[in-house]
């Protein structure tokens, strides 16, 4: 026992405080260990078994589920789709939300109302808006094809063509999330002292130059945070894909035409709860877990090196 612990035990007042400390944090620690800690270890355990969802007679097979995973073309396609999706969302959502934040960073009539409209999709239920987007993206009667048709574009089979499935998913997700990142960027911009811009004005720097040399570097903590949170959330994509593409394939599995919208979590869910391969699905859960751990590691090390903190 450390010297500090001993000194706590020595005084009755400290002992009471320690007791209450454990009572106060106890329920939450217990909850986290039972509902997150144990399942994490249990997931590793399940993944080494051939185990059906009914749970009868699991058979230990070592790493065979992992071997199967990396040789399963459907899983590899789901991984590829997920990476394309994550890349697509990052590519559009982050710059777009930064642009919106910069444009909103000035006085304008009804500015607050407009901001709220951009934020509206963020708070809504994913299941409900995914249903709405099924209808918005409908090939013949959807409003999106009507609107782009208005500008002379051809009708696009968003949900029925493997080529368009991923763009449809990305458009919907950017629509859902852009307001979230925008509000964070606006807060980041407000934290930059106007002093810097005044100094740059005196030196005659152009607005573009000011953006490159002042805004971007001083905004980098916010940008990094947004980039990595968007990435983490995007890897977990599930409800949108499942709902937008349910029924579009004969199996109603939510994987999209020709599996074009099959993502890691959708495939995991179908394996576990549709086809009953619990052991195999658990291995996929471990795979996703490892990806998220790697991103977090990158986040921690980048925060130390790259980011300029405003002193």
């Amino acid at each position: 026992m450390s010297a500090k612990t001993l000194s706590i035990l020595a005084s009755p007042r400290k002992r009471t405080e320690m007791m209450w400390g454990f009572i106060f944090v106890g329920p939450v620690i217990l909850g986290i260990l039972i509902f997150m800690g144990f399942p994490t270890l249990y997931g590793f355990f399940i993944s080494t078994f051939k185990w059906t969802i009914i749970g009868k007679h699991p058979e230990f097979i070592g790493l065979k589920n992992y071997v199967r995973m990396f040789t399963d073309p459907d899983f590899l396609k789901a991984v590829k789709n997920t990476f394309v999706y994550v890349g697509g969302v990052l590519l559009f959502s982050v710059p777009l939300s930064l642009l919106l934040a910069i444009l909103f960073n000035r006085k304008m009539p009804f500015g607050e109302v407009l901001k709220i409209i951009y934020y509206l999709p963020v708070i809504t239920m994913m299941v409900a808006v995914s249903m709405v987007w099924r209808w918005v993206l409908s090939t013949e009667y959807g409003i999106l094809n009507y609107v782009i048709g208005f500008f002379g574009a051809e009708t696009i089979p968003w949900l029925n063509d493997p080529k368009w499935a991923m763009p449809a998913l990305i458009i919907m997700s950017v629509w859902k999330g852009v307001g979230f990142n925008m509000v964070l960027f606006i807060a980041g911009l407000k934290n930059i002292s106007p002093m810097y811009y005044e100094a740059a004005d005196i030196d005659g720097a152009s607005p573009f130059r000011q953006f490159i040399s002042i805004t971007l570097p001083l905004l980098s903590p916010t940008t990094l945070f947004i980039f990595l949170t968007t990435m983490m959330n995007s890897f977990q994509i599930f409800a949108q894909a499942k709902i937008l593409f349910a029924g579009a394939t004969s199996e109603a599995s939510g994987a999209g035409p020709d599996n074009a919208a099959n993502t890691i979590v959708v495939y995991l869910y179908n394996n576990a709860f549709k086809w009953g391969h619990a052991g195999y699905a658990a291995a996929q859960g471990v795979f996703l877990f490892v990806i998220l751990i790697i991103i977090t590691r990158i986040q921690l090390s980048l925060q130390k090196r790259w980011v300029h903190y405003d002193a």
């Binding site: 106060f24 986290i32 039972i34 444009l103 709405v132 609107v147 109603a252 658990a282």
Partner: protein, 288 residues
């Protein structure tokens, strides 16, 4: 003078262009909602009229009544179930997350930092990666198709409670130590100090977190999908996804859109009333 005037004009024009761009974007953002409401008020024939009508010729509320009264859908029940889950989760957050936050902020006990690191680590562990082991665990507990499964883990800080604990801890740490010292001199015990002196100090954080928890509980889909399969215990998100299992219903767009409206209305109302708290949460989360 002329130079100034030119400059003024240039700024004006660019501002107008920016403004128009933002309005066009806002129209795109709000379009799906308007389209949803408009479609939910149509009947099965007028929904396929082309070009689309934004305002239905005759407003038809039968889709809504069907969702509440038909034998297949029971949205009244789903609302009731969802409200139970929401109320208990918010209460649970109030009690357990704030206790833990206070413990981590102000009390001294062994392994405090290690335990706090464990709480923070749960932030990067989404439910999606744990679907299978959690399902087995819930079945072992006998919690499948129970409200216990929907309420207990979240109330005890699992699945996202870490964020609330983190924020409340920041608030408690910012309070002056004198408050507790004064309470101690008056002879208050630690729990008494916490409940009657410290808790009232963090009311604003509570409001924001209550809304945050409400939003998470109302919109929750993945967790109910894993632990609930009896329609008697369906929450609103599962009620809406009922349409997915029925191919004919999946093309009954007016009914589908009415169900989406029902899923969105409560959260939109809460948002419009407490809009400032929503944004406040978000800004706080970016400051970590």
């Amino acid at each position: 003078m002329t130079h100034n005037l030119m400059n003024f004009k240039k700024i004006k024009i660019s501002s107008v262009i920016i403004y128009l761009f933002l309005i066009a974007g806002a129209l795109f953002m709000i379009m799906p909602f308007l389209w949803m409401i408009s479609s939910s008020l149509k009947d099965v024939e007028s929904i396929f009229i082309f070009p689309p009508q934004w305002i239905p010729e005759k407003v038809n509320l039968s889709n809504y009544t069907e969702l509440f009264t038909s034998s297949y859908y029971n949205f009244g029940l789903y609302y009731f179930n969802t409200m139970i889950v929401v109320i208990f989760r918010v209460t649970g957050m109030f009690i357990f997350c704030s206790m833990a936050a206070y413990g981590f902020a102000r009390l001294d006990f062994p392994f405090k930092n290690l335990l706090f690191m464990i709480v923070l680590a749960t932030m990067m562990l989404p439910i999606q990666t744990l679907m299978v082991p959690l399902y087995f665990e819930m079945r072992f507990f006998g919690w499948i198709n129970t409200f216990k499964a929907l309420i207990v883990p979240h109330s005890l800080g699992a699945f996202g409670g870490a964020f609330s604990i983190f924020l409340l801890r920041q608030y408690f740490m910012a309070l002056p130590k004198d408050l507790e010292n004064a309470a101690e001199i008056d002879g208050c015990s630690i729990p008494r100090t916490f409940f009657s002196v410290m808790l009232p100090q963090v009311k604003t954080a509570y409001a924001a977190l209550a809304i945050f928890t409400f939003q998470g509980a109302w919109n929750d889909y993945v967790w109910p999908l894993i632990v609930i399969n009896s329609p008697k215990k369906y929450v609103i998100s599962l009620g809406i996804s009922l349409f997915l299992s029925d191919k004919a219903a999946l093309t009954n767009w007016p009914l589908l859109m009415a169900s989406s409206v029902l899923g969105l209305i409560p959260i939109l109302v809460v948002f419009l009333f407490f809009q400032k708290y929503f944004m406040q949460n978000l800004v706080m989360s970016g400051l970590k």
